[in-house]
């Protein structure tokens, strides 16, 4: 039966409500209000994990989000389990299951612990040095490293929780609900500013809320009582919103911040059902007040990582806030007055404090007098040189510091101790400030970085601004608030404050031991197992930049980003190299401040909402007729329509034959459509297309090719002149938005004198393209009034017509080489149009075909697809499309680039056709082409861009880009594949109907 490790004094723990939970498979209980860490400590459990590299036993070290050791896996469901959670932040609930990470088979017996014995062979950079060679072994090394590292388990099933995003706007955002944050929020809200106060903890109040000592008084009340009153008046203010369990993850420029509001993680499974788990707040604040407080520093000494060694402030919080005793034989180890606060707290509750080890020679503050009066033994000018106890601290060894504090003198004194509270002073939590672009300055007197230059409308107040004593915090926060909020007064001027601590501290980054450093383990980064020794080794090996040392030793690279030890790492580098701290710079703290779940980041954008998509008006028909779909840009396009268990190949072969033999129909609604009007439209088209547009008659269509200013093919499509000053341009499906943007750009910025207006009308129209030798008969049935004769309605022309009451625009244009009509109707009539085409085409076996058949049919004709046969490095000349480039036009976009020395090279890649020796052989798209097989290194001439088996020609066809291809007609080339080589011959790129007779079939 474990001893009672609870004291009855906590206002924050509800001892009437027992909570049952499991840790590493065993049942425990705590009380409502406990964190997993406080509940485990109350059960006498310190050992909660193993370290990353040496697998050393590690215990709970802190009581907050900076925790480096007590990292657990919460939940054992395959869908809902979260790794890397700080036990100090998990609020317990009935049914909570948590397990230790980074140990196997169990935290008490861990095989990886052997690394600890091997540690002389695992110095900084070990992985880099050992696993570098040979490179081909890396896959095996990686497996081993990852296997033994094991930073928790990812869920293996989709997350069933609900997450949310919310935009929030406020006049003043206050980050941190400690004493200065509360002062700020109240002052802002009182002055009619819409205020939002965020705090990562369960309750606001910071550390003051459990400060029940007469050593710290405000207006003659103990500070916790004074603050409690402030909080109750704060909560009555109208224009203030308080969000707790909300941690600010990122602070970007222009006062844009991201915060994660945790809504249900503290609830049991039944309570949290169907509720939003976490919400990502996207906050835009006029002004930001950062009151994020400070983190207590550990001290760096030999074996400073054993379970039972904790931050002094954490020991205090566990007893004062949670009512939990961390140890029965307590010792504090300090370089400043704060450890005395903790010692007095324990002592007054009847908990034994064996000693305080203070590296200073003396301190005269009131709080020290009180500790002496409580008969606590103080060892001045002493340091801890070693600690003992493998899974739990048992004893420490201390020695007297030499005059210069660089070494120790005398002999070891052993002190029994199962909990050592270390107090190394305070580090302002400037993480968010620096994320926002703020610059720090180094304050020599107490060796801290404090905010210097604010990049936006923000201030830091309280201990994150470097004020660590109560009187200073109140005085400076009050005057900062007055200036920042531009107000005449605050409630906090002239308060009477009692503060019994003094700021005096003695800073030694690496404390000396009686052993040489090579024989010691002074941990700087607990999570990543980086020691002071590793940092010194990195410096010896020539690393100088703090960013390089950090990466080489992995200091600060863990999930805690080294919140505790980064300052010490800097300090040790400064001491070793003789560079001043202020000149060394700091490493960058990157968002998020604490890890975010992927669920929070994606919010509701999961499943079908993950990526936006568009469907055509005919979509339902395609689904009813079993179409397979492919993504083209944002569109879901019908890919092919398999019948009776056809494979894709079989379906495409059937569709391709039918489309030429009789009739085919394609949903072409996704083509980009831009309505262009204005008296200068033909001039505009002249400038954006490579060919001439001035003479295009009303009612006629023309194919155009658009280049980038660098001469490379950008897009293509057919543009139709509807009336004198009215044209409709079509673009590729994927290029529509970009083409629109490009045309607008030129009109607005280069040619504002042109009278041209652009409107994107892509989804105003639905388009059915009917092709094949019987397409004219089908159209005649569909639109009997329309004269379809070649004289009245020739290829590349346009008519307005009506199908019943539906108005339509019909273009006789072809992308398949067949006689073909594109019928455009208002989008709402799209499905009706399609169904009427199918009905009219029934007797001709009209065959719906998808994008795959479209690609095959156009390849038979050698028509390019921009983006498939081109890749942003192909000019029209490279594509052997010289015919479309006007020689007469003075200028068009990209023209000048066609005469650059580089674009005129003869050995550029050109588009050609390829015929395989074996006509049944279908090449792989992307396959590389060579002319010599036994070359070393082999020269790649180009690659296959399009390849199909053509059912109409009964042989394979392929398009390819080949270096100097224009002059290679008839040449034999080779395509080396994994197991064999395919022989091909360069051909013309038009495979079928070179005379274009089928257009007038």
């Amino acid at each position: 039966m474990p001893k009672n490790l609870r004291v009855k004094s906590s206002n924050f723990i509800d001892e009437t409500t027992r909570v049952s939970f499991k840790f590493n498979g065993k049942n425990y209980h705590g009380f409502k209000g406990d964190t997993l860490a406080s509940a485990l400590l109350a059960n006498g459990i310190h050992l909660v994990g193993r370290s990353f590299k040496y697998h050393r036993p590690r215990g709970i070290m802190t009581a907050g989000s900076e925790e480096p050791n007590a990292i657990v896996q919460v939940g054992n469901d395959k869908a809902i389990t979260e790794p890397n959670v700080r036990a100090t932040e998990v609020e317990i609930y009935n049914g909570l299951e948590a397990t230790s990470q980074n140990c196997w088979p169990s935290v008490n017996f861990d095989i990886g612990g052997i690394n600890n014995l091997l540690s002389p062979f695992l110095p900084a950079g070990f992985y880099y040095k050992t696993f570098m060679w040979p490179a081909s072994f890396w896959e095996k090394y990686e497996y081993l490293i990852r296997h033994s590292a094991g930073l928790g388990k990812s869920p293996t099933k989709p997350d069933t929780d609900i997450y949310d995003h919310k935009y929030v706007h406020c006049d003043v955002l206050v980050i941190g609900g400690g004493i200065s944050g509360i002062m700020a929020a109240k002052t802002a809200a009182q002055n009619n500013l819409k205020t939002l106060l965020l705090d990562e903890k369960t309750e606001i109040g910071g550390t003051t809320i459990y400060q029940n000592s007469d050593n710290f008084k405000i207006e003659n009340k103990v500070s916790s009582e004074w603050l409690t009153n402030e909080i109750s008046s704060l909560k009555k203010l109208d224009n203030l919103e308080i969000k707790t369990r909300t941690s600010v993850a990122a602070y970007h420029g222009y006062n844009f911040l991201l915060a994660r509001e945790n809504l249900t993680d503290h609830l049991s499974a039944s309570e949290k059902k169907n509720k939003v788990r976490q919400r990502l707040l996207k906050i835009r604040a006029m002004k930001v007040i950062v009151a994020t407080g400070s983190l207590e520093r550990p001290l760096i000494f030999n074996n400073n990582d054993r379970p039972g060694i904790m931050l002094s402030s954490a020991v205090k919080k566990y007893v004062d806030y949670y009512g939990v005793i961390c140890g029965e034989k307590n010792v504090f180890f300090t370089n400043n007055d704060s450890a005395y606060e903790s010692a007095i707290s324990l002592s007054k509750k009847g908990i034994k404090v064996n000693a305080i080890v203070d590296i200073r020679e003396k301190s005269e503050s009131l709080i020290i007098k009180e500790a002496e009066n409580l008969d606590i033994k103080i060892y001045w000018s002493h340091t801890v040189v070693d600690t003992h106890g493998y899974k739990k601290l048992k004893q420490i060894s201390i020695m007297k510091l030499s005059e210069d504090a660089q070494s120790v003198i005398g002999s070891r004194i052993n002190v029994d101790c199962d909990c050592l509270g270390v107090a190394g002073g305070w580090t302002p939590a400037v993480h968010l400030f620096t994320q926002s672009g703020g610059k720090l300055k180094f304050r020599d007197v107490d060796q801290v970085f404090v905010p210097n230059k604010y990049p936006s409308k923000q201030i830091s107040i309280g201990s994150c601004d470097g004020d660590f004593e109560l009187d200073k915090i109140i005085k400076n926060s009050s005057s900062s608030l007055k200036d920042f909020l531009e107000i005449d007064k605050t409630d906090y001027e002239n308060l009477s404050v009692v503060n019994s601590k003094e700021a005096n501290k003695k800073n030694i980054w690496l404390l000396p031991s009686d052993k040489v450093i090579g024989k010691t383990k002074p941990f700087v980064d607990y999570q990543n197992d980086a020691t002071a020794k590793d940092i010194k080794l990195a410096l010896r090996e020539g690393f100088r930049s703090i960013e390089h040392v950090k990466r080489y030793t992995t200091t600060g690279m863990g999930t805690d980003q080294g919140k505790l030890g980064n300052m010490h790492a800097l300090g040790i580098i400064a001491d070793t190299t003789g560079v001043k701290m202020g000149e060394l710079g700091t490493t960058t703290f990157r968002p998020p401040y604490t890890p975010l779940t992927f669920g929070t980041i994606v919010g509701r954008n999961v499943g079908e909402y993950f990526d936006i998509f568009r469907r055509t008006p005919m979509n339902d028909w395609h689904i009813e007729n079993k179409a397979k779909f492919e993504n083209v840009g944002q569109w879901k396009r019908a890919w092919y329509y398999p019948q009776n268990n056809e494979s894709m190949h079989e379906a495409v072969q059937r569709e391709s034959l039918a489309a030429r033999a009789s009739a085919g129909i394609l949903d072409a609604s996704t083509l980009g459509k831009i309505d262009i009007q204005g008296s200068d439209t033909s001039e505009f088209l002249n400038r954006v297309y490579t060919n001439a547009w001035s003479k295009l008659e009303i009612g006629k269509c023309r194919y155009g090719l658009m280049l980038n200013e660098d001469g490379m093919v950008y897009d293509d499509g057919v543009t139709t002149r509807i009336s004198e000053n009215h044209y409709i341009m079509t673009t590729t499906t994927g290029g529509a938005a970009n083409v629109m943007g490009k045309l607008e750009d030129y009109l607005q910025t280069e040619w504002p004198e042109l009278d041209v207006y652009l409107t994107s009308v892509t989804d105003h129209f639905a388009t059915a393209s009917v092709c094949g030798s019987n397409s004219k008969k089908i159209l005649n049935k569909l639109i009997p009034d329309l004269n379809l004769s070649d004289e009245n309605f020739p290829h590349m022309s346009f008519k307005e017509a009506q199908i019943g009451k539906i108005k339509c625009r019909v273009m006789r244009i072809s992308f398949t080489g067949e006689l073909s009509y594109e019928i455009n109707v208002q989008a709402n009539y799209g499905k009706s149009l399609w169904e009427q085409c199918m009905e009219a085409g029934k007797e001709f076996n009209i065959t719906p075909y998808g994008t795959e058949t479209m690609h095959l049919l156009r390849a038979e004709k050698g028509f390019i697809i921009v983006g498939q046969d081109t890749d942003g490095t192909m000019t029209p000349i490279d594509l052997q499309m010289d015919w479309i480039v006007s020689k007469k036009k003075y200028d068009f976009i990209g023209k000048r680039s066609l005469y650059r020395s580089d674009t005129m090279r003869e050995d550029r890649k050109h588009l050609v056709g390829l015929a395989t020796d074996d006509p049944k052989e279908v090449l792989e798209e992307g396959a590389q082409i060579v002319s010599e097989l036994n070359q070393s290194p082999v020269q790649m001439l180009g690659h296959v861009t399009s390849s199909y088996f053509s059912p109409n020609l009964n042989k394979s066809i392929a398009l390819a880009v080949v270096r100097g291809g224009k002059s290679m007609l008839g040449k034999k080339l080779f395509i080396p594949m994994e197991s064999r080589t395919i022989n091909v011959t360069v051909t013309d790129s038009v495979f079928l109907d070179k005379e274009n007779e089928r257009l007038n079939a």
């Binding site: 943007g741 607008e744 750009d745 910025t749 504002p752 023209k895 000048r896 005469y899």
Partner: protein, 91 residues
């Protein structure tokens, strides 16, 4: 994430806008008169300075208008926004 004051719509979130590179690079009126070097200067050469830079921006998810911006790239401070066609106020 900036707040950008579109000269046509007012202050909007950066996510509504698209950056369009360096401003005040006029497309040559007679490209064919230029030699390769002069054309390359127009086509490829862009400043990318740490400090105050003239930039083109487009209110892509708004009025779709292009405008010019004077931005300090070292801290993202927007010094000035003015319409296309207006002369750069600082040379």
């Amino acid at each position: 994430m900036f707040i950008i004051n579109c000269p046509f719509c007012g202050e909007r979130d950066q996510s509504e806008f698209k950056a369009g590179g360096e401003a005040h690079i006029e497309r040559p009126k007679q490209p064919t008169e230029l030699n390769d070097e002069e054309w390359a200067e127009y086509l490829f050469m862009r400043k990318n300075i740490k400090g105050i830079q003239f930039e083109r921006w487009n209110h892509a998810h708004g009025c779709r208008k292009w405008f010019n911006m004077l931005r300090d790239t070292s801290n993202d401070e927007i010094k000035l926004i003015y319409k296309m066609g207006e002369k750069s106020p600082i040379e």
